[in-house]
């Protein structure tokens, strides 16, 4: 009886050791020292269609407390339901960077990616925007009618007119400006133009060019991409 008990204890101990050996990180992966920091290199705050691949890969950088890159540490990414990564985890390269392609989830709105080391101690949140049908339509309209003045960046095909105007139009991502307007304000400005609401006279009225639903789509797009994010304060969800 005694022998059996000893044997049992021994067996249990061995299996526990074996389990720990299996759980331990694969040899070769660099350990992540405490105080390490994950930073976003590029690929944050991108705007894409629901379900679609983000144009740019998301690149994050893992540095230790002194700011030196940590190569070979395994990072993994996770996100809301439906967000896909290619690859979802892997080691950082020689410069401590990890690059992954991200596909947006199937529902529109802001979504967050969480990059973390395998032990989960070092984390970084990266925010992206997925556009639904209405916002996508808004983006189309914006590209056609608005961006020439409301986007400071010029491309060979489209030269920005923003600097030529006084007062300067606000880029649609300027949440600090746009979040102050209610939906009704925005709709009115787009529809009736600047002068009608005592704003800049260079803003023409679009109410006779765009239908109400198109203006709503534009508003919805502006809300979707504004930074900081717009939160609808007129609606309060209090629990009973």
């Amino acid at each position: 009886m005694k022998e059996r008990a000893i044997l049992l204890v021994l067996l249990l101990g061995m299996s526990a050791c074996a389990k720990r050996a299996v759980d331990a990180p694969a040899s070769g992966a660099a350990a992540v020292p405490s105080g390490a920091v994950l930073t976003e290199v590029s690929g944050g705050k991108q705007v894409t269609r629901i379900g679609a691949l983000l144009d740019q890969p998301v690149v994050v950088q893992l540095n230790d407390a002194q700011g030196t890159a940590i190569p070979g540490a395994v990072l993994s990414l996770s996100g809301a339901q439906g967000v896909k990564f290619d690859p979802a985890s892997g080691p950082t390269d020689a410069t401590g960077q990890f690059t992954t392609l991200v596909s947006a989830p199937g529902t529109s709105g802001r979504f967050q990616l969480l990059a973390s080391t395998t032990d989960g101690k070092v984390q970084l949140k990266v925010e992206q925007v997925a556009l639904g049908y209405e916002q996508l339509l808004g983006r189309q309209l914006s590209n056609q009618y608005c961006v020439r003045c409301h986007d400071p960046e010029s491309t060979p095909e489209r030269v920005s007119n923003m600097d030529n105007l006084d007062p300067k139009p606000h880029a649609f991502t300027e949440g600090d400006t746009y979040n102050k307007f209610s939906d009704a304000d925005l709709t009115a400005i787009i529809g009736h133009g600047g002068p009608a609401l005592n704003k800049a006279s260079s803003m023409p009225p679009f109410g006779f060019t765009l239908s109400p639903s198109e203006i709503q789509a534009l508003t919805s797009y502006i809300r979707a991409i504004s930074d900081p994010p717009y939160s609808d304060t007129t609606r309060v969800y209090a629990s009973k």
Binding site: R49, T107, Y133, Q140
Partner: protein
């Protein structure tokens, strides 16, 4: 053991006991069926929904909207029964916009009403099912799972056969189907019976030996993108031997072209001549259509014609000169205009283009003289890979039904598809991997690899997924049919000129033509004769921000007169008379009033320039010579409603009243700055 036996005896020991016990067991077993029904998945979902909304502020309203029990949206004419709303209870509740927990999330806004179209028309899946697995995923009895959000625009394409503003991916996919040559091998019929017509322009190869060398053909066939990254010709993955044999065959079948032979001066490498050629290339706005790589490796220029970065390594000088002189003699179908250049200009441009060589391209290509056997094998390869689907080749007929028909690919059952290892068994995955890695499906397959980006592949898959059986079965009244390009052809001498200059390549007239330049269907109402003559003599751009510009065609005075007469008489807007506003009615007082409106009320200077020194508006055309260019009637009508004259124009409809429009017209008609010859 004994206990078990006595227990057995107690309940099944004799026939009466067995009868009694079995009856009870039967009763209990039978009772499970309704119980199973009662604890169904959808009842569970409904209970959870009620739990969810009870915690919210507007619980009373929300609860009033809940109809317990199975819900069904039935559309006999669409062939759809949807029970999705049995579990997806919050679809229409605007106040649930912050709920992300499925199946209760609110549906984002779409232009169709839920009850009018149901769910599966767009999302696919099995609408009749009341369990998540059966409704969302593919099963033995229903292969069509939910359409991933990435391809959701495919569903719009079932009814909307013409481009739709809200579906950029679908539009792009359809464009690619036509422009990447898919429709040259595959038959692609849309639900309204119209067939996708290829819009690419693969060259005919009947006289290819006049144009280029066997070495270049070899290198090109091996890897077209090595010569021009933007090439639409796909990579067939030919071996060196195969490429050698194809080049042998193509050279062997080539006949002498139908254009006059001219003596050609040897290309000069004098930097001065090359520089002159380059500036002539620039003045002729060749870059509006042709791209070249700049030092940074980026393509600069239009994608309408082939990329010219390494063109000197490709073309034979005598062919190039003949082509620049008049492209139509070599290829009557070409979209390139006849520039009417003189011999010196032709020589300069040809010389400049020949200097654009890439020594690496053909450095390693050394071909022995071709043998008969090689040419025969080359011919076999050309037949096998369907080269004649795109190119005209002497003695090879265009193959019919060369590749599978794709008209209903969006409803193809999995059972008929072969998936390569590692590809998840869904139709979108099949399509994307087939397009991006066609040879992964088997080494012997013919489909070549196209140089497409991931978004392009997704767009193509979206367009293909819209080709469903359901799209064909939907009532015709729901269909928004494709817009067919008209076969409009202007008549007479002017008509000949218009086709010789290939105006249709860039401008549209009466529903036919390109979108690169403005639609000229109503040009006759809009412009003044003198200005048009000047413009045709020396086109200068109206929009300083544009890089694509109208080239100078070196027209003779007679030709310009013919064109101008034609445009001013034929391309008139029927809605108004171009002379309806008499210049005398536009008084200076009115003009002064208009000037006020221009700068204050309407802030036109935000987008338009009059004084290039003072104004900065970059968006609209420069208006400094509006008085010379535009007719008063057009200007007035335009100000009243620009969208009516040119749908989709950026200029918004300002809803101007009559007086304002008249005043502004008067002001604009006073702007008569003479442009200096040579333009900008």
């Amino acid at each position: 053991m004994n206990g078990l036996r006595s227990l057995w005896n107690k309940f099944f020991g004799n026939s009466s006991r067995a009868f009694g016990s079995m009856s009870v067991i039967l009763l209990l077993s039978l009772a499970i069926a309704p119980a199973k029904d009662f604890f169904s998945e959808w009842r569970h979902a409904q209970k959870n929904y009620v739990k969810l909304i009870r915690t919210r502020a507007d619980a009373v309203t929300l609860e009033r909207h809940v109809e317990p029990g199975l819900q069904q949206i039935w559309h006999p004419e669409l062939g759809v029964v949807d029970r999705c709303t049995t579990c997806h209870l919050g679809l229409k509740e605007a106040s649930l916009s912050n709920v992300t927990q499925q199946p209760f999330a609110k549906h984002p806004p779409i232009p169709h009403s839920l009850t009018q179209f149901g769910c599966v028309i767009c999302h696919r899946g099995q609408g009749t099912a009341t369990t998540e697995r059966e409704a969302h995923h593919s099963t033995d009895s229903w292969e069509e799972p939910l359409l991933p959000a990435n391809y959701i625009e495919a569903s719009c394409g079932q009814c909307h056969l013409s481009p739709l503003r809200g579906t950029p991916t679908l539009n792009e996919g359809r464009r690619l189907l036509a422009s990447e040559g898919c429709a040259r091998c595959h038959n692609i019929k849309l639900a309204d019976g119209s067939v996708v017509v290829p819009t690419d322009d693969p060259p005919e190869l009947n006289h290819i030996a006049d144009k280029t060398t066997r070495e270049w053909i070899f290198a090109w066939v091996k890897n077209p993108q090595a010569y021009a990254a933007s090439s639409t010709m796909p990579n067939f993955g030919f071996s060196d031997d195969d490429a050698r044999d194809i080049s042998a065959f193509l050279v062997a079948q080539s006949t002498k072209g139908p254009y006059p032979a001219r003596t050609v001066k040897a290309a000069s490498s004098d930097p001065n001549t090359v520089q002159q050629g380059a500036s002539l290339y620039g003045q002729s706005f060749c870059a509006s259509c042709h791209a070249t790589q700049n030092a940074a490796g980026n393509l600069v220029g239009g994608d309408f014609g082939p990329e010219l970065t390494r063109v000197g390594s490709k073309l034979k000088p005598e062919w190039l000169e003949s082509w620049i002189r008049d492209p139509a003699t070599y290829d009557p179908e070409t979209r390139m205009p006849h520039f009417r250049l003189d011999d010196k200009q032709v020589g300069l441009i040809s010389n400049y283009l020949q200097s654009k060589t890439d020594s690496d391209l053909l450095a390693n290509v050394h071909l022995e003289p071709a043998t008969q056997k090689q040419a025969e094998h080359g011919r076999a390869l050309v037949l096998e890979y369907g080269c004649a689907s795109c190119h005209q080749i002497n003695g090879v007929k265009k193959p019919e039904n060369f590749a599978p028909d794709l008209s209903r690919i969006g409803s193809k059952p999995f059972a008929q598809l072969a998936f390569p290892a590692g590809v998840e068994h869904t139709l979108p995955n099949y399509l994307t991997s087939k397009i991006s890695k066609p040879r992964a499906f088997g080494a012997g397959l013919k489909m070549p690899k196209f140089a497409l980006t991931t978004p392009q592949v997704d767009a193509l898959a979206t367009a293909l997924l819209s080709l469903t059986s359901r799209a064909n079965a939907l009532p015709a009244s729901l269909r928004i049919a494709t817009q067919h390009e008209s076969h409009y052809q202007p008549a007479g001498k002017a008509g000949q000129l218009i086709s010789d200059l290939r105006c249709f390549s860039c401008h549209a007239f009466n529903g036919r033509g390109g979108t690169m330049a403005p639609d000229l269907s109503w040009e006759g109402s809009s412009v003044q004769r003198e200005w048009l003559v000047d413009f045709l003599k020396n086109p200068n751009t109206l929009r300083p921000a544009l890089i694509r510009r109208m080239p100078k065609f070196n027209l003779t005075g007679a030709e310009i007169n013919t064109l101008t007469d034609y445009i001013l008489t034929v391309y008139q807007n029927p809605a108004f008379d171009r002379d309806e506003i008499a210049p005398s009615s536009l008084t200076p007082q009115l003009a002064e009033q208009g000037k006020q409106l221009y700068y204050s009320k309407y802030s036109c200077q935000s987008c338009h320039m009059i004084d290039a020194q003072k104004d900065k508006g970059y968006i609209g055309p420069v208006l400094s010579q509006a008085g010379l260019r535009l007719t008063p009637a057009w200007t007035y009508q335009w100000l009243r409603n620009p969208q009516a004259l040119r749908p989709g124009t950026i200029e918004p409809n300002q809803h101007m009243d009559d007086a304002d429009a008249k005043a502004l017209t008067a002001y604009l008609m006073t702007l008569k700055l003479r442009a200096k010859q040579g333009g900008n």
